[in-house]
Each structure stands twice: as structure tokens, then as C-alpha cells.
């Protein structure tokens, strides 16, 4: 989603509905679907990689909420 689409979603009151789409796009900026499956498969043998991946996914969720103004900027988790 580009900046224009995000602004339109906020304006039209559908930010919560497009939130999952934006989260997926942010995750995909760093991890492809194949990367994600490999990390999941090697979760026990490469725990550090999984921790980094999980932390990044949580960051993407916070960032998407911030961009879509779903949470106040001051109360970032």
C-alpha cells in the first residue's frame, strides 16, 4: 500500500480492515513466504533466527497500526 492508499483508508474509515494487508506487506519487505516457512521449520534448531523473525513481525504490526493511525503515537508498545 502506498502513502496515498493509506491516507484514503484512514479517510474512508476502513483502516482496521486494511490493517492485515499492510502488516503482510511490511513483513514481506524482509521475509518472503519461503523464508518464513524455513524459519518456522528450524525454530528449534535455530532459535535465535526465530526470535529475530518474531520480533520483526511484532514490529510490523506496531508500525502498521501507527501508519493507519489505529493507535496514538505516544502509546507505542
Amino acid at each position: 500500500m502506498d502513502k496515498k492508499e493509506i491516507e484514503l483508508a484512514i479517510l474512508n474509515g476502513v483502516a482496521d480492515k486494511v490493517y492485515p494487508k499492510l502488516v503482510r506487506e511490511l513483513i514481506n519487505e524482509k521475509y518472503s513466504i519461503y523464508d518464513e516457512l524455513a524459519i518456522q521449520r528450524q525454530r528449534d534448531t535455530k532459535p535465535q533466527e526465530f526470535i529475530e523473525y518474531n520480533n520483526y513481525c511484532e514490529y510490523c504490526k506496531r508500525e502498521a497500526k501507527r501508519q493507519l493511525k489505529l493507535i496514538p503515537v505516544e502509546s507505542e508498545l
Binding site: 502513502k3 496515498k4 492508499e5 491516507e7 484514503l8 483508508a9 474512508n12 476502513v14 492485515p20 502488516v23
Partner: protein, 593 residues
């Protein structure tokens, strides 16, 4: 191996077993003897859980609930493809004066880019005004290129309508007459002729009254380099004119225009001054008793059958599809179309009994119709039930929405309209525009005014001829233009591409040589002579538009306000331009999938 070591071994094993049992969640007392350990092992909770989860588009951890040791099975409930994508954005980049908002569009759209377009006059015929004149019983006057005739010819008369036309037929012309007799037909054998020094182009012997009191007479004039001098009309004795309106056009090429355009000199720029958003229902739901007359579009009273009609004109788009929704599916809907000046164009049939007049279906707006009025037959009744909707999109079948009219207007700031080059455009891919997202005015098109001091030179083969027509070739270098796209526009010469220029050509044109960026002029020698001096004299003062080699970007954030506009699904967005014509624009909508 001694008894002591064996006891130690057994004690150690018991301690390890105790630890293992405790690790499984069962408390083992220090007083528990080995005899009890089997029952303690039996009390270990090995229950597992089966869980059903919905797949997500992001990482999700699935763990057993409290009281369970683990998961024996995880069931994915269906396959998620893209269930959260309930909205998608769509960008409308049509070049259009009016646009239909797509189905599913949400309340607000984003104006992304607003451009402009430049055009030379299609009509080459510049007719001077003539005050009212009477000749052999025929009274006529000319105003803004339009000829109006009244009276009865007292004898046969050859009437010169326009003199001193002085147009060279270099590349071929199409002569067109838009004639409106308002349904009072002059007698037959009225002739129109364009005269040259050598001969004349004979157009037609009769003004065809036609069903809708308007006709278009046209004829192609092959290229012969003759100079058209005058337009005349032969009127037989006794011919009657009653407010007969004649609008002549001469256009380049061989395709007759379907709509009259008055003459203007040079190149005309059309710039967006505002964007207006209108609701889906284009009918204002103003209602009264009565009907309209099929023969002239005027108000009619049907005494024996009471009908209900729209009070006001409804704006429509030529050649578009409209959808008529009506809650009463048995009611017949009779449309009456009008041109830009509210002159009656016609209906679709001749009478309300025509089967094609039913509601809840689509109709095509005639190519010259800009307004509509209608009535509903007596089946509907005389009480309006708030259930009639006319929309400009065939995609909104079966939908009623209350009339909203103008929803919002976005006006382009005066400071932006005053920017040099605002409203200029050569074609759909080469134009100047406001780029809202980055708050800039992007100038791709500039212009150049030729003068006698320009270093115009003759080509190596300056004069070329095909035996009938002769042309002089010249060029001007040093213009900072785009050599790849070759976009150039001039009122007096049509644009041609490099490949055309390389071939055997017998027509005049303006073009760009991509090898060196020279602007090339090829002009009929009847107009521009055969020497460099005569060519420069002809070029002097003329203007051409060209695409810049490097676009110019200007920050205009201080002038731009919010670029969003409120819309209605299947409504209309109108970019009001200086002149009503197609103007490039990009608009983004969020559409529910």
C-alpha cells in the same frame, strides 16, 4: 560389586525416578516408597489436545490450553487466500472531461494528478460577422460563424455567404454544414458550393429536413493546392426559410466532425479550474404534470392521459450509457434530448407506444446531446414515490439513490492557474500537470514563438513536388526538446513522425528529426513561397508547442490544499476546464471488493 554399592545404586536410581516424575507435574513425597512409584507414574497427565485454528496472514503461536500436556493435532479451518483484502485501490487515469465513479467506491477519492490539453481549432473557416442583410426577399445575418436565414426568395438568387476565405487545400479538407431548419423545410434544390479560382466544390442540392430538424452535410475535398475563396448558396425562386441556422466548418482530413466547433485562432489551452463531484442520481426529482412533444421537444399537455414529467433539464454525457431505474416496472419512460444550447435533438422513437421506452434498462445518449428531459406514462400515476433514479453508469442497475446534486467542489488556486504552462498539453502522454502527492507542478510542455530573427534554414532539397503540389522544407535547430518522443504541436501544420518524413510525402507538416532534434517545417509553396525569406515570413509570429528535454518541476505546496474529494459510488467527477474538452487526470478510489 558389594551390597553397599548396590544400595547406593538403587538409591540413586530412585532419586532420579523421583525427579522424572516430579518433572511431569506429580509431587513425590520424600516419604513415598518405591512401592508407590508405579501409581505415581500412572497419575502423570498425558492428555493432549486437538485444536482448530483459523490461518492468518502473519505469525501465530498455537499452544495447548491449561491442563493439557500437548497438542495431538492442529486443524487448520479452511485455507486463507486473501480474506482480509476487502478493499483495493483503483486509479482512474482516463483522459476525460467527465468521469464516472466506479461501483464499490467509498466516500472519499484522491485527486492525484490534474493536467491540461492544448488544441488548434478544428474549424479552419473564420467567417466575419455580417449585419442583417436582405437580398431578393431573403434576410440573413452572420454572428460568430453562424448564419441565420429567413424569408421567401422573390427570385432565383446566388447568395455569397462567405467571401475571402483564402484556405489552401494542401492535405485534403472536409467541408461540413450543420443545418437546423427547425422542422420547417425550405424547398428542394438549394445548393451549397465552395468556390476556388479554378472551379468549385459542390456540396449538396438540398437541405435535408430530417426527423430531428437538423442535418449534417459533408463532402471530402481532395488535396489539390487550390485556394478556397468563397462559400455560396443557390436559392431557387420561392424558397422559404424560417429561422434556418447554418454552421459551416472546414476541417483537415477526411473525417467529418459530428459536432460543430466555432473557429478560433492559434492554439487554445484548456486548464482545470475546479473539480466537481456529483451524486449518482442525476435527476433532481423535481416533478410536475404534463409531457413533452416528440416532434419539437417542447412542453405538451395530454388532456386525456395525465402524465408526469421532469421539470428541469438533466445534464448527460454524449455517447454515454444511462440507466433508468423506476420502482414501477410497468411504467414507460420517454426521453427527450437537447444539445448544448438546449435545442431539441430528438427522442429515441416517435411515440410513447414504442416498445423500447421501458424503465429499468439502459439507453445511449446521442452524440450531440448534453441535456435530457423525460416523462413517465400514466401507468406510473401522478404521485412521485421517490423511486426514480437516472444514473450515468450502466453498472448501477436496479439501484435508487436520492438526488444529491453537487457534493463537493475542489478549486485550483489562482496562483497555480497563473503558472506558466498551466493547462498546456500535446497529447494524452505529454502534458503539464499538478502532482498532488509531491506538491509539485510538472511542466513537460513548453512553447516557442517564431520570429524573423530565428535561424531557420532550408533543407538540402528545399523544394519538393509531386507534379501537382509543391512544398518548401526548412528547419530550426537549438530547441531544447525531447528527441525520443517527438511530441510537437502547431496550429497551422499537422504533426507527422520521423518515419513519415523519411518517406515519399506530398503533404505539409511539422515534425522533429530525432537524429539532431531539428524542428522541421514542410509547407505548401502556395502559402510559404519558394525562398527562405518567404518561408520565414510565413513562420513569423506562429507558435509551436513541444515536449521539453528535461521537465521542469516547481514546488507549489504553499498553494495546494487537501486533495481528497467526497464522492458517491457511480456518481460523476467533472473537471471543469477553461474549455470543455478531454483533460488528463489521475484519480484514486478505494473500492470494496
Amino acid at each position: 560389586m558389594s551390597i553397599a554399592s548396590e544400595i547406593t545404586r538403587l538409591q540413586t536410581a530412585k532419586a532420579n525416578i523421583k525427579t522424572s516424575i516430579e518433572n511431569k507435574g506429580v509431587v513425590v513425597s520424600s516419604s513415598d516408597k518405591l512401592d508407590n512409584y508405579s501409581s505415581l507414574i500412572d497419575s502423570i497427565n498425558i492428555s493432549t489436545q486437538v485444536k482448530t485454528v483459523n490461518p492468518q496472514n502473519y505469525t501465530k503461536e498455537i499452544t495447548p490450553d491449561v491442563g493439557y500436556r500437548g497438542l495431538s493435532k492442529v486443524v487448520l479451518d479452511g485455507v486463507l487466500v486473501d480474506s482480509h483484502d476487502s478493499y483495493t485501490s483503483t486509479t482512474d487515469d482516463n483522459v476525460a472531461y467527465e468521469k464516472i465513479v466506479p461501483s464499490g467506491a467509498l466516500k472519499y477519492a484522491s485527486l492525484d494528478k490534474l493536467g491540461g490539453m492544448s488544441e488548434p481549432s478544428k474549424n479552419l473557416l473564420n467567417i466575419p460577422d455580417v449585419a442583417e442583410t436582405t437580398n431578393n426577399g431573403i434576410t440573413y445575418k452572420i454572428k460568430n460563424g453562424v448564419i441565420i436565414m429567413n424569408g421567401t426568395a422573390s427570385s432565383g438568387i446566388s447568395l455569397i455567404l462567405v467571401n475571402n476565405i483564402n484556405i489552401v487545400n494542401s492535405n485534403g479538407l472536409c467541408a461540413v454544414l450543420f443545418v437546423d431548419t427547425h422542422n420547417t423545410n425550405p424547398t428542394t434544390n438549394v445548393e451549397f458550393n465552395y468556390k476556388t479560382a479554378e472551379s468549385s466544390y459542390y456540396l449538396q442540392t438540398r437541405i435535408d429536413n430530417g426527423t430531428y430538424a437538423q442535418s449534417i452535410i459533408s463532402r471530402n475535398l481532395n488535396a489539390d493546392s487550390n485556394i478556397i475563396t468563397r462559400l455560396s448558396m443557390w436559392i431557387p425562386n420561392g424558397t422559404i426559410f424560417n429561422n434556418c441556422v447554418i454552421k459551416p466548418m472546414l476541417v483537415n482530413g477526411s473525417t467529418a466532425p459530428t459536432e460543430y466547433q466555432p473557429y478560433f485562432s492559434g492554439i487554445r489551452d484548456s486548464a482545470v479550474v475546479s473539480v466537481k463531484s456529483y451524486g449518482m442520481n442525476v435527476w433532481d426529482e423535481q416533478w410536475e404534470i404534463g409531457g413533452y412533444n416528440f416532434s419539437n421537444g417542447n412542453t405538451a399537455v395530454y388532456n386525456n392521459r395525465i402524465r408526469s414529467k421532469s421539470t428541469n433539464y438533466i445534464s448527460v454525457i454524449p455517447n454515454s450509457t444511462i440507466y433508468i431505474y423506476c420502482g414501477d416496472t410497468n411504467a414507460k419512460w420517454c426521453p427527450f434530448f437537447y444539445d448544448k444550447n438546449y435545442n431539441y435533438v430528438g427522442s429515441i422513437g416517435n411515440s410513447y407506444t414504442d416498445i423500447s421506452y421501458y424503465t429499468n434498462t439502459t439507453y445511449t445518449v446521442p452524440s450531440n446531446a448534453y441535456y435530457l428531459r423525460f416523462y413517465l406514462t400514466s401507468v406510473y400515476g401522478t404521485t412521485y414515490n421517490n423511486d426514480v433514479c437516472i444514473n450515468l453508469s450502466s453498472g448501477a442497475n436496479g439501484t435508487y439513490k436520492q438526488y444529491r446534486g453537487l457534493i463537493e467542489t475542489k478549486t485550483i488556486p489562482a496562483e497555480v492557474q497563473a503558472l506558466t504552462g498551466y493547462g498546456w498539453g500535446i497529447n494524452d502522454t505529454c502534458y503539464n500537470y499538478i502532482y498532488y502527492e509531491i506538491k509539485k507542478f510538472i511542466q513537460n510542455v513548453s512553447n516557442y514563438t517564431l520570429s524573423l530573427t530565428d535561424d531557420v534554414r532550408l533543407s538540402s532539397t528545399a523544394i519538393i513536388t509531386d507534379g501537382t503540389n509543391s512544398f518548401i522544407r526548412g528547419y530550426l535547430s537549438g530547441i531544447p526538446l525531447n528527441k525520443q518522443n517527438l511530441n510537437i504541436l502547431m496550429a497551422e501544420l499537422p504533426t507527422q513522425s520521423f518515419s513519415y518524413w523519411q518517406g515519399t510525402y506530398k503533404e505539409e507538416f511539422i515534425g522533429i528529426d530525432p537524429n539532431n532534434g531539428n524542428v522541421v517545417f514542410v509547407v505548401n509553396t502556395v502559402k510559404a513561397g519558394e525562398t527562405l525569406e518567404t518561408l520565414k515570413a510565413w513562420l513569423n509570429g506562429k507558435v509551436f508547442y513541444y515536449e521539453l528535454e528535461t521537465p521542469v518541476e516547481t514546488y507549489i505546496s504553499q498553494y495546494l490544499n487537501d486533495n481528497t474529494i467526497e464522492i458517491e459510488e457511480n456518481g460523476t467527477l467533472v473537471s471543469n476546464n477553461t474549455y470543455e474538452q478531454k483533460v488528463p487526470s489521475e484519480i484514486t478510489y478505494l473500492v470494496e471488493v
